[in-house]
Subunit: 376 residues, 2 copies
């Protein structure tokens, strides 16, 4: 391979590479008698990838015609289109993304904005994988744009909007009144959220049915005879705090059991903090005999606390946990788990943004998952 590395004519000094020593793929080889004879030696990008110009030369057509043929425009003859397509396929033509983007503004990029906080217990992996799997069948690329929890969550979104860095955005960790959602809606920018909002504004989302989860979790505990329940909940500022709380409280009311407050920590706290907090709850006066955990990682801290106080899960108390994978099921089968399929969420979210970009109305792009729990 490589073979004929024939230097182009004179002006071969267009190779760019600002700081780099190596040259890599794009080399911008350039030649062609610019003004001279109109129909001769039409440049033909040396070893480079084919462009419209290449195909135009090969077919004897104009660049515009080729462009329009590949777009299946109505004013191009059927046989011409066929011929162009054939040649394009033959030479492996792929439109230059920079060219398209410069001209049309279309980036063919979806930006996944995520909090570094989500790293805990790796929600990132499966969501990235899920999104990728959908995008793989499209011309879209996935750009991951993380922000540190300390910084403004709005910043990355604003960046994308201001620079037009992507055609669509996926965000997570939504709040009831979410500034990012407000901003993107105002600018009419395609996006989808992992989690709902509560602003009376329709937008694409995918969410796990946390209310259903919490309700089912309480029921499971009650069925095991537990009557003094508590909840390791999401941080108050996120939308799904309310959902989970509602489900929990409603079930508690419905089943007529007692609750023990456990408000000092939430699932965003460090495992150490959660463990410490739960341990002191367990050593205190009002001790729960059942706990619902809104996070797989948090559950690990709870387990540690429980065992540190000499209690036994399944005997002294029961734990129901939402989990992103089934590690817990392997290591602590006595914990009741309900799986949240994050990869599936990735699929849904990706499909939603794409549909939104294609112009589908937001109302049709909302989905909820849950209920199919895997008890152990």
């Amino acid at each position: 391979m490589e073979g004929q590395a024939s230097m182009d004519e004179k002006t071969k000094t267009d190779g760019v590479r600002p700081t780099a020593t190596q040259s890599g793929a794009p080399s911008n080889a350039q030649s062609g008698l610019q003004t001279g004879n109109p129909q001769a030696a039409p440049h033909l990008p040396g070893n480079d990838r084919p462009t419209l110009k290449t195909i135009a030369y090969m077919t004897g057509l104009g660049i515009t015609t080729v462009s329009r043929a590949l777009k299946d425009a109505p004013d191009i003859g059927a046989d011409t289109k066929e011929r162009v397509r054939l040649v394009a396929r033959q030479v492996g033509y792929q439109p230059n993304r920079a060219g398209v983007r410069l001209r049309t503004g279309k980036t063919n990029v979806i930006s996944l904005v995520l909090s570094l906080e989500e790293e805990i217990m790796g929600l990132t992996s499966p969501i990235v994988v899920g999104i990728s799997e959908v995008l793989a069948a499209t011309p879209y690329h996935l750009v991951v744009t993380p922000y540190s929890p300390s910084r403004d969550a709005l910043a990355p979104v604003r960046y994308v909007l201001d620079t037009g860095a992507a055609d669509g955005v996926i965000i997570s960790r939504t709040e009831p009144k979410d500034a990012r959602v407000a901003l993107m809606l105002e600018r009419n920018f395609p996006f989808a959220t992992h989690g709902r909002t509560d602003m009376g504004l329709a937008h694409p989302y995918h969410d796990y049915d946390n209310e259903g989860f919490a309700y089912a979790a309480v029921r499971a505990l009650v069925e095991r005879g537990r009557r003094r329940l508590t909840l390791l909940q999401p941080p108050r500022h996120l939308t799904f705090h309310r959902h989970m709380r509602n489900g929990f409280d409603r079930a508690v009311r419905d089943f007529g059991v007692e609750t023990i407050p456990f408000d000092t920590v939430d699932i965003d706290h460090s495992l150490i903090d959660i463990r410490t907090a739960f341990e002191s709850l367990l050593r205190g006066g009002a001790v729960p005999d059942g706990i619902v955990s809104g996070s797989g990682a948090g559950t690990i801290a709870l387990i540690a606390a429980i065992e540190a106080t000499g209690r036994k899960i399944g005997t002294d108390l029961d734990v129901v946990s939402k989990v992103p994978s089934d590690f817990l099921g392997w290591l602590r089968p006595e914990v009741i788990t309900m799986k949240e399929d994050i990869r599936h969420a990735g699929h849904e979210l990706a499909k939603a943004v794409l549909a939104r970009i294609a112009g589908r109305p937001p109302e049709e792009l909302q989905s909820l998952s849950g209920l199919d729990k895997a008890k152990t």
Copy 2:
């Protein structure tokens, strides 16, 4: 906000948006009397983001001058540079990526190529986070390009090379003779690998010291009096299979203990398979009293097998596991763990590609981590 949404003159009908209904950020508003009077109403992108043209107009300089001033070129006056920089900062100028990319070929993108297989136990999360943290301080974006294990691992790399989709690539799961590495070296394309190769060719890499890990693991087992050891190893085709195997075998020799073969599965197998295989080993004739596990996820399957056969870790046998996080430490403190810091690997890999892009020689961009193990 929004305020003065003054429509531009006549030719404002350039707004593009092929398929989309919504318009989003880039709108390509365009006007300006093209030929007429040379120094008048110079277009000034309506509400859009500023370009070099904007700054040129504001400063009264030429576009070229502005471009060169912002690049700190030597042929621009010091005070002019200062003035340009000021205005640029003032209007929030950010170079249009498509423009730069089209002209120079520089994408400002790093492509992370990963196997969907890696999803297991989420190595993806921390490596993405680690890379992002480094790139955050640069103009680089991170594009995630996964490939399904069934498909050709070479495909995504070839794609990047052929289309110039990125300035640098990060790959993992290297093989001793790695086709991707060969290809990128041949094309002199900047990249870094997570894992080494064995082709006698220098390239940037970061690797975990799997040999050291395995050696230390065996020592830890021997110190606990274990003498019949086995290894849950990486798949044979990956480079670190040899490393880990070497460390294991050398330690076994050095400490004069026995080994039990366990070759039917490797860490890429499903947890079910691993568990089944290990269970049948445990129920067989030659039973190990110590096992070294090359993967945190795999260890979970091993534990399950051990407990299913009524054995107790720490008593009947010991387990040493490499882990990416410390979940195991929380849930099975009796397992001896050694942490592989994947996020750190992300840092190193990102720094390595960037340095390579900047022209630093590969030999200087190789790093190994390990040894700082966290025993429990």
